[in-house]
């Protein structure tokens, strides 16, 4: 420990703090020396694998669906599945999840069905969000998964506030907040972490550092030792973990949850990974990064790593693998076909939920709109047939 007073001037170097990366699993599925794996029973371990695979199959299908023009937009989590599945798996169902948008794995772990994913992506009348947001903006009260919002980092102080409420209520519950290393540059990051620390909130902040914010590489996002090194500045206990190592992510999150609850204090986790695919279907990464870099990371596939471990445990084999992939492919395809046939919500839902009850002005606006739609039914084919439904 340094003395608290010095009499010769010295700049504390920008790299005074090094936060190491916690890893358990090697890419071949074996443990590092000295590493202790968490105690999973077989069915839990297999469930996690299923959720990883589901997420990957979902992403693959939906990227295609977007290419085919069936949905306007999609955003995959390719290469980062383990970080969200592994962390959410370490939580309890009552814990609230604030996701950024690339955490479909976490939602799947909580039990969101293929049908529910499809209904959201196709903005149909069964979408819990009533067709109001772009594909991938999932949310479910039943599953304690906060509806996703596009403006980045806004969920960070919200998660602090939510967990403060959980604490007041005396629930045995925390909130977890996922965000990218890009979003961590927003003012709301600073606000959220500092408030959580000083107001003693049981919040887990999980930064997915996947190397890029769209085209901007992490080196143009910040200069310090990643996002983790900022935690200490807020007085927040912090851990950096290999985000492609599901077991390590699980253990780190479990530890974070325990600490957060026991101490009413936040924890910051930085999960190091890589966005293997494009940012979204609107993006083409060939414009800003090399094939070599991508290939290097493709070799670190988190799903494969976990599969190797599972196989070595004797809990997984090729037959199960094949069956699982085809089951999910078929299920998703079938649900997609069903979802795209379902109509959009009725026009009334254009004005519901702005307030708890529509105001007089809104009712008036809807009435006028309906009159207009009746006059020009062909221009509004999605709603004109069901105006009085």
């Amino acid at each position: 420990m340094r003395p608290s007073t010095v009499h010769t001037p010295e700049l504390i170097a920008q790299d005074a703090l090094h936060i190491p990366t916690f890893k358990l699993l090697k890419q071949d599925g074996t443990l590092y020396q000295g590493a202790a794996e968490p105690e999973f029973d077989e069915s839990f371990a297999v469930k996690l694998y299923q959720d990883l695979v589901f997420t990957r199959v979902l992403d693959e299908r939906m990227v295609n669906a977007q290419r085919q023009g069936r949905i306007p937009f999609y955003l995959a989590s390719l290469g980062e599945e383990a970080a969200s599945v592994g962390s959410t798996a370490a939580l309890k169902d009552q814990d609230m999840i604030f996701a950024q948008y690339r955490e479909q794995g976490a939602l799947r772990f909580r039990g969101f069905t293929a049908e529910q994913f499809m209904d959201q992506c196709f903005s149909n009348e069964r979408d819990l969000g009533k067709g109001r947001q772009m594909p991938i903006h999932y949310g479910s009260k039943a599953l304690n998964y906060m509806t996703i919002s596009s403006p980045l980092a806004t969920q960070i102080p919200q998660a602090a506030g939510y967990s403060y409420g959980q604490k007041l209520q005396g629930n045995d519950a925390v909130s977890i907040c996922y965000f990218g290393e890009g979003a961590a540059s927003e003012g709301d990051f600073h606000a959220g972490l500092n408030m959580a620390a000083v107001l003693n909130c049981p919040t887990i902040f999980l930064c997915r550092n996947n190397g890029y914010a769209i085209s901007t590489p992490a080196e143009e996002q910040f200069k310090g030792d990643g996002v983790a090194s900022r935690g200490i500045g807020y007085g927040i206990n912090t851990i950096r973990v290999d985000g492609n190592d599901l077991l390590a992510v699980f253990v780190a999150t479990q530890m974070a949850r325990e600490y957060a609850l026991a101490n009413n204090a936040p924890v910051l986790i930085e999960a190091m990974s890589y966005r293997l695919g494009a940012h979204s279907t609107s993006d083409d990464p060939t414009g800003y990064r090399s094939k070599e870099e991508e290939a290097k990371w493709a070799k670190k596939d988190p799903i494969l790593r976990y599969k190797h471990w599972l196989t070595q445990k004797g809990w997984w084999d090729d037959n199960k693998e094949k069956a699982l992939y085809s089951e999910y492919r078929e299920e998703i395809l079938a649900q997609m076909k069903a979802a795209e046939k379902r109509p959009v919500p009725t026009l009334d839902h254009l004005i519901t939920d702005v307030y708890d009850e529509p105001t007089e002005q809104l009712k008036q606006q809807l009435t006028e709109l309906k009159q207009h739609v009746r006059k020009y039914p062909n221009q509004y084919p999605k709603t004109s047939g069901r105006l009085d439904a």
Binding site: G139, S149, P157, S163, Y164, Q169, G187, N194, Y355
Partner: protein, 325 residues
């Protein structure tokens, strides 16, 4: 009934809200131990504990972000922004988040429990950053409610209604009146309706419309007009969002004339919306153009504050202009 100033009425409303509902939580900069720089939250920490009334770090975007989360969790946060002029760092959290929480989630989640309190307005030699009236910046945002009281009695009833409303409310407090406005206020619990204007004086020649501290000004102008035989109807809009179109339009259909006044700059102030709506609904009743008496289109000044203000003499001149059009 007891005699209270506007601050005391607000403090009293917060006290009642906290005592009756443990979900109500008050916070903001200096709100805790000290009770706020204006002392609106005085003694609340003492009474209800640090967990329910506390200081936050100095970060408005965080205060509202935190409040959004706390409200989504089911609490009723009453977040204070120290001055209306400092609400802008929280603009994204309010306009993109608070306002859209319920809609974007299909009502899976909402922040209906949230109330944002903030002092607004000029006349206290505060210059650019302790004088603004930012209500119009929020009025373009579906999903928010906006309320402005004119006196202690209104403040207490409207604040209690705002805290209990199932929707997020921005509650603008006319700080010039904090201590200056004193009146009889019922001691018990009561609510005044959000979304309803209040006709404070009936008249037949022209309708004068304002809200908050500006009510004093237009009422003064109405008295001046009275002396010249002009009979003004004076309306306090009270809610900016949603606003009471019906009451205003009916009044204008009766008087044939409308004058709207606010302290904020003229251009795209909320007066513009009122004029646009009323001219549509009362077109055939209008005997003269609807007039706006507002701040000039400049940042809020200091040395020329008196000149900038839409004061009673300016309103009075405009009344005459309208009536003699």
């Amino acid at each position: 009934m007891s005699s209270m100033n506007l601050l005391q009425a607000i403090n009293n409303a917060l006290d009642i809200a906290m005592s009756k509902d443990e979900k109500v939580v008050c916070f903001g900069e200096d709100v805790g131990f000290f009770g706020g720089v204006f002392r609106a939250t005085s003694h609340l920490q003492e009474k209800y504990g640090r967990a329910r009334c506390f200081n936050t770090p100095l970060v408005e975007q965080g205060i509202i972000g935190f409040a959004n989360g706390l409200a989504a969790q089911g609490h009723k946060p009453v977040a204070e922004i120290q001055f209306g002029d400092y609400i802008f760092p929280a603009f994204d959290q309010i306009v993109n988040e608070t306002a859209k929480y319920r809609y974007r989630s299909g009502n899976e989640f909402n922040v209906g429990g949230l109330t944002i309190r903030t002092p607004y307005g000029g006349g206290i030699k505060g210059g650019h950053y302790h004088s603004q009236s930012p209500e119009a910046y929020f009025a373009h945002t579906p999903g928010l409610k906006i309320v402005v009281p004119r006196n202690p009695h209104q403040a207490k009833g409207l604040l209690l209604a705002s805290i209990r409303d199932e929707n997020p409310v921005i509650f603008f407090e006319p700080k010039r009146l904090y201590r200056a406005s004193v009146g009889e206020v019922p001691e018990g619990d009561y609510e005044l309706p959000i979304g309803k204007a209040d006709i404070v004086r009936e008249g037949s020649d022209i309708t004068l419309l304002a809200w908050g501290a500006q009510m004093e000004i237009i009422s003064q102008a109405a008295s001046m007009a009275d002396n010249e035989g002009i009979d003004c109807e004076v309306i306090d809009l009270r809610s900016i969002l949603p606003w009471d179109i019906e009451t205003v339009v009916k009044s204008v259909q009766k008087t044939g004339r409308l004058l709207v006044s606010h302290e904020a700059p003229l251009t795209n102030g909320f007066g513009a919306e009122i004029v646009a709506t009323v001219q549509e609904h009362a077109f055939l009743s209008l005997e003269s153009p609807i007039l706006r008496v507002c701040g000039l289109d400049v940042p809020y000044p200091l040395a020329h504050e008196t000149e900038y203000m839409p004061d009673a003499s300016k309103v009075f001149e405009a009344i005459k202009h309208s009536v003699h059009y």
